[in-house]
């Protein structure tokens, strides 16, 4: 029987309001006129002003930033998953001299604050001529996402049965074929979990592009939104800014509603081990 006592219900409901209210307010404000936002912050929009969204998408470049984010995050995600799973599998399944050293070289990086690397990283990327380029961002994003991926998938590959791989080898599969045709499909649940986690981490990245991506034409969404909040604030296009923010929020909201169970399971899996 489910319990319905008053104080627990009040506490749970209150926090839900605190969580949801600012978000609902932002979405409704994105559909109001500037006048309504300024004079009536709490009222719903009198009519739905979707032209705010259009203005944000084209006029304030949200569309362009969105596209940049897609390229950089998409490329980095693919590369991270490929390299991360290869490393994790090789280290989990092939005992060789130095195996542990390689493993800890990767995993130790998770415990260093990015701020420590920031200045030298800037100059490394500059010297390679990769400052403000898509490939530069993709490679750096990948380098910083691989350690967690290795850590997570290493544990996962160890739990997979060795017999399947051995049988495939007896059938004449090469090492590479065993990995791509047998082990990767078996590891799908782990790949999906760590893939979601990486996607969110990369999509929400701000510090790295802020330092390594100075060209406004190549701004990723987070950078663009931050720049927009400063410039639109001065121009007081409030509704346009709320619209930009809502557009940036929507894909995440849709993904969350569709996959919320997997996302919560995947994201907390790393913390409980």
């Amino acid at each position: 029987m489910k319990r319905l006592d008053f104080f627990p219900q009040l506490a749970m409901f209150s926090w839900a309001v605190v969580t949801a209210l600012p978000l609902i307010w932002a979405v409704t404000s994105s559909l109001k006129t500037d006048d309504e936002i300024l004079n009536d912050p709490w009222s719903p929009p009198s009519s739905l002003h979707f032209e705010n969204w259009a203005r944000a998408w084209t006029g304030a470049n949200i569309g362009r930033y969105f596209f940049n984010s897609l390229i950089v995050v998409g490329g980095a995600l693919l590369l991270t998953m490929l390299l991360g799973s290869l490393v994790a599998y090789a280290l989990a399944r092939y005992p060789f001299r130095g195996n542990r050293i390689v493993y800890y070289t990767f995993v130790a990086a998770m415990f260093f604050p990015v701020f420590l690397a920031l200045v030298p990283l800037f100059f490394v990327v500059q010297q390679l001529g990769l400052l403000g380029t898509y490939p530069g961002l993709i490679l750096v994003y990948t380098a910083y996402a691989v350690p967690f991926t290795v850590f997570f998938l290493h544990a996962f590959f160890r739990t997979l049965p060795a017999e399947v791989a051995e049988a495939a080898v007896l059938d004449g599969c090469s090492h590479g074929a065993v990995f791509f045709r047998v082990m990767l499909p078996l590891a799908r649940p782990g790949l999906v979990a760590v893939g979601i986690f990486n996607f969110l981490g990369l999509w929400n990245q701000y510090l790295l592009p802020l330092v390594l991506n100075p060209d406004p034409d190549r701004y990723v969404l987070a950078q663009g939104l931050a720049a927009l909040s400063v410039s639109q604030g001065y121009r007081s296009d409030w509704s346009g800014l709320f619209a930009g923010m809502t557009i940036a929020m929507l894909p995440v909201l849709v993904a969350y509603v569709a996959f919320q169970r997997h996302i919560r399971a995947g994201m907390t899996a790393g913390a409980v081990r």
Binding site: A109, A226, F242, T268
Partner: protein, 295 residues
């Protein structure tokens, strides 16, 4: 089968290792050396100055403001987040599930998904003195006198930033703690209830001790978040870092020292200081957990 083993291993490891060494290991390693130089970004113009940068940090008032603010965040953010999350998790899960618990959990978790920049822009608006949700809400319920310029008053700005960190983090730990509570054998709760234990004593006597390890992990994670704070401060606050250094954090001082003023050696010394602070904190937090276990 040995044939092709080494070739496969090399193919699997080398690309990632090269990337790792170039973009991760080498910057971290260079940082420790650069922090001992007066480098200003001109190639070949880095002079070794020993511990000078570090002794300068001790009298840099902006940096000390940042250290103080990060220290306050380190004390407040993990404690507040964990307390709230434990309360909500034990309400959502607990001995008998409450109505709506799982739905609430879905709502609580959502801010965890959003980029910190979105959260910062959103809360910048919530705190806006004229059009913001917070002041408008206070006026609507007749508490207009309590309306403030939240991010512009030195005594309130840091608390306003910390509230946002707590707001965005609680949901994750509700889900984490709830999963842990669900892992506790039901018989323990039933036995306690038969013995007549109330909600609070069940929580103190059973739930909390069995969640100790999860709380410890949460503490370390949240401590690392509290030592950062860069994005919220950079996007939300006046200055940023203001008013008058009230929300300055080490990450921001470092970023500005390096990329605005070009003092790269000095900025890297701040990074090294931050690294040792994070290291010390993690070790202490894990130690503290272990000593409690023995007691």
């Amino acid at each position: 089968m040995r044939h092709g083993r080494w070739r496969f291993l090399a193919g699997a490891l080398v690309p990632a290792l090269v990337l790792h060494v170039v973009f991760v290991v080498s910057p971290y390693a260079q940082a420790f050396y650069l922090s001992l130089t007066d480098w200003t970004g001109v190639a070949g113009e880095a002079h070794y100055v020993g511990a000078d940068n570090f002794s300068r940090l001790g009298s840099d008032t902006l940096f000390l403001d940042a250290v103080r603010n990060n220290a306050v965040m380190l004390l407040v953010v993990p404690a507040a987040t964990i307390a709230l999350a434990l309360l909500l998790a034990s309400l959502v899960a607990g001995p008998s599930k409450r109505w709506g618990g799982s739905a609430y959990q879905i709502v609580y978790f959502f801010p965890q998904m959003l980029s910190l920049v979105i959260i910062a822009v959103l809360w910048g608006f919530v705190y806006n003195p004229n059009t913001g949700l917070l002041n408008a809400g206070l006026r609507a319920i007749g508490l207009g006198a309590a309306a403030r310029s939240w991010l512009a008053e030195p005594s309130l700005a840091l608390a306003a930033v910390m509230a946002v960190i707590v707001w965005s983090s609680v949901g994750f730990y509700v889900v984490l703690f709830r999963a842990a509570i669900d892992g506790i054998p039901q018989e323990l709760f039933e036995a306690a209830r038969i013995d007549g234990a109330g909600g609070w004593s069940v929580f103190r006597g059973i739930t909390l001790p069995l969640l100790k390890e999860n709380v410890q992990v949460a503490f370390v994670y949240l401590g690392i978040i509290a030592l950062d704070g860069f994005v919220l401060v950079q996007v939300m606050t006046v200055g940023p870092g203001g008013p008058d250094g009230a929300t300055e954090v080490v990450g921001l001082t470092l970023y500005r020292t390096a990329f605005t003023y070009g003092k790269f050696g000095y900025a890297t010394a701040m990074g090294v200081a931050l690294f040792f602070a994070a290291l010390t904190f993690s070790i202490l937090a894990l130690r503290w957990g272990r000593s409690h276990e023995e007691a």
